[in-house]
Amino acid sequence: MNVLGSLAVASLLAGLGFVGGQAAGLRPVFGTLIPYAAFVTFLLGVSYRILVWMRSPVPFRIPTTCGQQKSLPWIKSSRLENPSSTLGVIGRMALEIGLFRSLFRDTRVELREGPRLAYGEARLLWLGALLFHWSLLFVVLRHLRFFLEPVPAVVNVLASVDSFFQVGAPGLYVTDVVLTGALGYLLLRRLVNPQVRYISLFADYFALFLLLGIAVSGILMRYVVRIDTVAAKQLALGLVTFSPVLPEKVGPLFFVHLFLLSVLAAYFPFSKLMHMGGVFLSPTRNLANTSRMRRHINPWNSPVKVHTYEEWEDEFRDKIKAAGLPLEKE
């Protein structure tokens, strides 16, 4: 139900984009209005979500420590897995965000006869996720060629590196293949692994289908059902220079691509995709384990009722006395 439902919605959206690109009357809506609205929603939405997170304080210093603490000078502390300095935290966060350090620890457990628990390596999810995210970043950066004029040399370098394996014309981008492959793996994993399938929600499939839709329409436009690239760039530049143009013919798939992207951008702030911003704020990762070195301040450290020593002594005075233990008041 979640799978088919999200696939249906994503397909419907793709169809909508297609129609929007074909019908002359709708083109200003799909080519100008919706992209602008989506982009504004993205910017405001992401900012709002981050600010909401920011407004909630971090009352306690609660890093998850994954290595030896810094204690005695002759015990080697784990600077990255259990950082005690800002530099260590930056390193830990860099590993986490750039290389998915924690996911790299993934294992698979199997209960065998005996009973005997066997733990196996399980790095496929890590690999798939890493490939997906890095290719997506490359693909996004490559797309700057449509949004910048003149095109900076660095974008050209990126593109030529990416099309290192020169297959046909236009050159085949490695990231196109990897991105789609990794997305396919992530989707397949959700469908095939019974546990993951059990926990997957509509939103989980929807995000994958949207991304797949965008990737596939992009790939088709480049390699199969060619579009007029120059017209596409003109439209893109028109948007970012606030002088929107709607070229006569860009190619039917272009509007599918653009509309799905718009949907993704607008959906982004309200979805789990916000993990992009959230990972930076995770208090179990971005705090140094200096809890006993420096006092962490809780802004709302609420007063509580305690059982004071005086009350306690009053309650047990006779017994304390009988046991010969010292008292404050005899």
């Binding site: 998850t64 994954c66 810094k70 009973p115 546990q195 926990i199 509580v304």
Partner: protein, 543 residues
């Protein structure tokens, strides 16, 4: 209880296939042996907690207050605004499932709602329904779920089926910590009076008498005197065990179980002997006679209420700094919460070892040092005379307790001590120790008899790793630095790996410690004969 529980062979038949039923259906079957009994109303009354009443989780009517739903939703809103961890962890999970088989309860039960991701989703689905625009608008389509009484029951069942061990958090790519979610869940349940007795009774006791077991000052004195007497019999040495001594240099705070329970008690003996050997000027306290803090398993406020006693007592007694004993969750509280909640401890001094002169700079603000840090420093500086052969009847492994491992990073100190005080030490598989250590299955207040089956299930991964080193190296002892471990590992090991005992690190220190003036030691601190072969009968043959 143990007799009613299913046999290990049966329990080990775990079915990991998810049921056909959608997880969003909250109906939960409260099977005997897998949940804890409700807290007695008198404890709630004593602590001023809401909705005290007689009830049991197995009742159809939980007698929630009339406006329970508003209370919970208001409580959620309040906590979302006060804890970034909570709000963030409600928002950013992508349900990748990396955490699923990292939870000992999932491994041992196969119940999908014991996957950390789903345990948190039980809360997230309600969060989405009431606190996000999409959820309010689209409901189930946006992953939202109505808050019903069944959901409250489901929360109770599964939030008291999590030991807040933080293992999942190690593997989560965003560091999502189910313990944070479970803690919030338990706070919300507390708001409508759904607590368990195994937690609230110790809390009430601790609040009143100063310790979990409700030991009153004179009884504490008696048991420490008894320990002093026993120690004298075994070693010929009479040690001091001062209580409430003003002007002592150090306040020593231990989990109160050390004064009554075994094998905790031997750890107490070991530390008493150690302090005598180095001539430490220290004192116990009857008011702050508990390092453990079951407030951690109730609410942040309750944690603060109980923890306040430690600094208050340190100030009253005029000590320079505080030493803490072997206790897992106590160190979570001391390390990550105490200074923030009840500090600043500006009336204390930066801890310095009076024996070695070592400054414990890493504890310069909180001013509390772990006894393993303290002892490791002593050994390293050659201040102790040790005879490791006195532990030759043991072949040990070390069980990292969740909180010292994952909320502090106390990893090498106890290992260094163990390697110094004994000859036979073997690590369990890498995947089950240090930051990836497996919980005993009974932490966070779940170590009660009525919860026996679930505890055995949750403890399966730990016990299984012990079995591995028992079979491979003939390990017959699990050393640890946690009072809950000492209470709950023995029945767990008895169930899954008979023949393996449990001991505190400082029990083994006490065994090996050569103290001036001692008589010839023929027994260990348990009063049992020492030397290799002494326990050979219990060591199973290698496979």
């Amino acid at each position: 209880m143990a007799e009613e529980a299913p046999k290990p062979e049966k329990l080990a038949q775990v079915d990991y296939r998810p049921p056909g039923r959608d997880w969003r259906d909250p109906a939960v079957e409260l099977r005997k042996g897998t949940f804890c009994y409700s807290a007695a109303p008198k404890h709630l009354e004593y602590l001023g907690l809401p909705n005290p009443r007689p009830w049991q989780p197995s009742d159809a009517d939980w007698k929630l207050p009339a406006d329970w739903k508003q209370i919970i939703l208001a409580g959620m809103k309040d906590r979302l605004e006060r804890f970034r961890s909570f709000r963030l962890f409600m928002d950013i999970c992508v349900r990748c499932g990396a955490c699923a088989d990292k939870c000992h309860f999932y491994i041992g039960s196969g119940d999908p709602k014991n996957m950390p991701v789903l345990r948190a989703e039980l809360m997230r689905s309600v969060y989405r329904r009431y606190f996000t625009a999409a959820g309010r608008l689209l409901g189930p389509l946006a992953g939202g779920r109505e808050l019903t009484e069944d959901v409250v029951k489901e929360w109770f069942y599964y939030f008291y089926q999590c030991t807040e061990c933080r293992r999942c958090s190690v593997f989560c790519p965003f560091g999502i910590d189910t313990a944070e979610v479970t803690m919030m869940g338990r706070e919300l349940l507390t708001l409508v009076g759904c607590n368990i007795n195994w937690i609230l009774e110790p809390v009430a006791n601790s609040y009143r008498t100063g310790n979990h077991l409700g030991i009153q000052p004179h009884a504490l004195k008696d048991s420490l005197d008894f320990a002093v007497g026993e120690l004298e019999e075994m070693t010929g040495i009479r040690v001091e065990a001062p209580i409430g001594k003003k002007g002592a240099e150090i306040l020593y705070v231990i989990p109160s179980a050390e004064t009554f329970g075994t094998p905790h008690y031997y750890t107490l003996l070991g530390s008493l002997l150690l302090f005598h050997a180095i001539g430490l000027d220290y004192t116990f306290s009857a008011y702050a006679s508990e390092g453990g803090n079951f407030g951690l398993f109730t609410s942040h406020e309750m944690m603060k209420r109980l923890n306040a006693k430690i600094y208050a007592e340190a100030r009253r007694l005029g000590v320079k700094w505080i030493l803490g004993g072997e206790c897992g969750h106590m160190w979570r509280v001391v390390h990550q919460y105490m200074d923030t909640m009840n500090g600043p401890a500006d009336f204390l001094e930066e801890p310095v070892s009076p024996v070695t002169g070592t400054r414990f700079e890493h504890a310069r603000s909180t001013k509390m040092v772990h006894i393993c840090e303290f002892t490791a420093d002593l050994i390293r500086n050659g201040k102790l005379r040790l005879d490791p052969s006195r532990n030759d009847h043991w072949s040990a492994t070390f069980h990292d307790s969740c909180n010292p491992a994952r909320s502090m990073g106390l990893i090498e100190e106890p290992r260094f001590i163990l390697r110094s005080v004994m000859n036979r030490f073997h690590e369990m598989p890498e995947n089950t120790i240090k930051e990836r250590t497996f919980c005993c299955g009974s932490g966070s207040g779940l170590g009660t008899d009525e919860n026996f089956e679930m505890r055995m299930r949750g403890g399966l991964p730990r016990a299984n790793a012990v079995r591995h080193v028992r079979d491979r190296f003939g390990v017959n002892l699990v050393a640890c630095v946690c009072a809950i471990d000492k209470a709950t590992l023995p029945p767990l090991l008895e169930y899954w790996v008979p023949g393996v005992s449990v001991a505190g690190v400082h029990e083994l220190v006490g065994n090996a410690l050569v103290v001036e003036g001692e008589k010839e030691r023929t027994t260990d601190l348990r009063g049992e004969p020492t030397g290799a072969g002494a326990r050979a009968a219990e060591t199973p043959a290698h496979e």
